[in-house]
C-alpha cells in the first residue's frame, strides 16, 4: 500500500498545470480529490512519474449561476453539490448517493468524470441533464456534450493534455429529477443506477431524459425508454411498461457481483424507481 515514488507539482495557475501535462504526457496524472487516483497509486495499479495537484489552481471550485443554468467547477466536491439549492434535483440526488460521507467531502465531480469508471454515479446525471463538459488544453477551451463525453471503459473524450475545467448544466424550470441505484454493498458503486430528469404536461410526463450507469462499458441514454416516457401516464404500471427497454441494445457488464442478465434486469428496475421518485 505504498505508492512507487513520484514527483509532485502544485501549479498556481491552469496554464502552469497545462504546461506540466504537455511536458510529461502519459507520465503525468492530475489530482483533485484523489478518491480514485490515490487508491490506484497505493496499489501501484497506476504508476505516474508526476502527480499534478490542481487544488491550488483558483477558479475550479464552486457553483455559479449562468444565463442557461449553472456552472460547476471541476474541483467542487460531491458534498457541496449534494447540499446546493441551485443545482437541478437530479444532481443533488446523485451527489448524495456517491460513496460515503468521507468520499463525498473530498472527492470531486471533475475527477470522477475524467476517471470514467463504468459504475460511477455522475455520468448518469450528466446524461440526464444534458450537461456540457468544458475542457481546457494547449490550444484553448473546447466543450463536449455529455452524450459524446463517455467513450468506453474508463475512457472519456478528455485528452491526456487537457484538464476538465467545469461542467455546464442547463436548468429547466419546473423539471423534476431523481437518481436511484442498487449499489454494491462494499464499494457503494452502482450495479445499476438511473438518473432521470423529466417535466410534467397536463398530468402526464412531458419530456424525459434518462442516464443509466453501471450496466454498460460507459453510461448511456436508453432512447427507447425516453421515447416511451413522453406522454406517459404517471401511474407505476404505465411507468414500468415504459421502462422495459432500459437495457435494449446493450451487452451488460458481468463480474463477480452481478451477471449480465441480472444487470439488464436491474437497469429496468432502477429506471422505473428513478422515474417514480422524480414524479413523487
Amino acid at each position: 500500500m505504498i505508492p512507487r515514488a513520484f514527483d509532485y507539482a502544485v501549479p498556481k495557475t491552469i496554464d502552469e498545470a497545462l504546461a506540466l501535462l504537455a511536458e510529461h504526457g502519459d507520465d503525468a496524472k492530475v489530482l483533485t480529490g484523489g478518491h480514485s487516483l490515490i487508491p490506484m497509486l497505493k496499489l501501484r495499479l497506476a504508476q505516474p512519474a508526476l502527480v499534478v495537484d490542481l487544488r491550488k489552481v483558483p477558479g475550479l471550485v464552486g457553483i455559479k449561476k449562468t444565463k442557461e443554468g449553472i456552472e460547476i467547477g471541476a474541483a467542487t466536491t460531491h458534498a457541496t453539490i449534494a447540499a446546493s439549492k441551485d443545482v437541478p434535483a437530479v444532481l443533488s440526488a446523485t451527489a448524495s448517493r456517491i460513496g460515503d460521507a468521507q468520499v463525498r467531502n473530498v472527492g470531486t465531480i471533475g475527477g470522477s468524470l475524467v476517471h470514467a469508471d463504468p459504475a460511477a454515479d455522475w455520468p448518469a446525471a450528466m446524461l440526464a441533464t444534458g450537461a456540457t463538459i468544458v475542457l481546457v488544453g494547449p490550444t484553448g477551451e473546447r466543450t463536449v456534450d455529455a452524450d459524446h463525453f463517455f467513450l468506453g471503459l474508463m475512457e472519456s473524450a478528455a485528452h491526456r493534455d487537457e484538464i476538465l475545467k467545469a461542467i455546464r448544466v442547463p436548468v429547466t424550470k419546473g423539471a423534476r429529477g431523481a437518481y436511484y441505484k442498487v449499489a454494491q454493498s462494499a464499494s457503494g458503486f452502482a450495479l445499476a443506477g438511473a438518473a432521470v430528469e423529466l417535466t410534467l404536461e397536463g398530468g402526464k410526463i412531458g419530456t424525459a431524459r434518462v442516464g443509466i450507469t453501471g450496466v454498460d462499458y460507459h453510461a448511456y441514454r436508453p432512447t427507447a425508454v425516453e421515447a416511451a416516457l413522453r406522454g406517459c401516464k404517471t401511474n407505476p404500471d404505465a411507468v414500468e411498461i415504459a421502462c422495459e427497454k432500459a437495457a435494449d441494445g446493450v451487452d451488460p457488464l458481468e463480474d463477480i457481483h452481478a451477471s449480465s442478465r441480472y444487470r439488464a434486469h436491474l437497469a429496468k428496475v432502477v429506471t422505473k424507481r428513478a422515474v417514480l421518485a422524480a414524479l413523487a
Binding site: L45, A46, P118, Y217, D255
Partner: protein, 146 residues
C-alpha cells in the same frame, strides 16, 4: 473469465491465418505490445504494456500455439506476469470463409490472479473484452493494408 465472440475481416481465410501467426502483425494488433518475438521452441515471447484508463501494467508473457490446422483453426495459450498480477488463459481460434472475407471466432477462458484481480475484479471482464475488441479493430486495419 470467459471470452467468446467473433469478428469479420475482409480477406480470405488463408491470408488471415498467415497474418494471425505473424509476430510482426500481432505486435501491431495487440494493444500496448512492445515486443513480440518467436523463440526457438516456436512460442512467442512478448512484452505488453496494457492499460485501461489510469490503470497500467507491463505484462511479460509467452504465447504458445498448438493444434494448428491451417487455415481453419488453432489453439492459443497465454501466460503472463506483471507486478500487478498474473494471467493464464487459452482460446480456440477458428476461421470460416464468409461472404466478403473471413469470420474469426474465438472461444476462450482466462484466469486473472494477483493484485489486479483482487482489487480490479469488477472491471476485469469489461477490460478484457475492450482489449479483445481493440485487437480485432487493429487487425481489420492491418488486413485492409495488405
Amino acid at each position: 473469465l470467459k471470452l467468446e465472440g467473433s469478428a469479420q475481416v475482409a480477406l480470405e481465410p488463408a491470408a488471415v491465418f498467415d497474418q494471425l501467426l505473424d509476430p510482426k502483425v500481432l505486435a501491431r494488433c495487440i494493444p500496448g505490445c512492445e515486443r513480440m518475438e518467436k523463440n526457438e521452441d516456436g512460442a512467442y515471447e512478448t512484452l505488453v504494456s496494457a492499460g485501461i484508463g489510469a490503470v497500467k501494467g507491463s505484462f511479460k508473457g509467452v504465447v504458445t500455439l498448438s493444434d494448428v490446422v491451417a487455415p481453419e483453426r488453432y489453439r492459443l495459450s497465454i501466460s503472463g506476469k506483471s507486478p500487478v498480477g498474473y494471467i493464464d488463459g487459452g482460446a480456440l481460434i477458428s476461421l470460416e470463409p464468409a461472404d466478403d472475407g473471413t469470420t474469426i471466432r474465438y472461444d476462450g477462458e482466462a484466469k486473472v490472479s494477483g493484485k489486479i484481480a483482487a482489487v480490479g475484479g469488477r472491471l476485469i471482464d469489461a477490460a478484457a473484452r475492450t482489449l479483445v475488441r481493440n485487437f480485432f479493430d487493429r487487425l481489420a486495419v492491418e488486413v485492409a493494408r495488405t
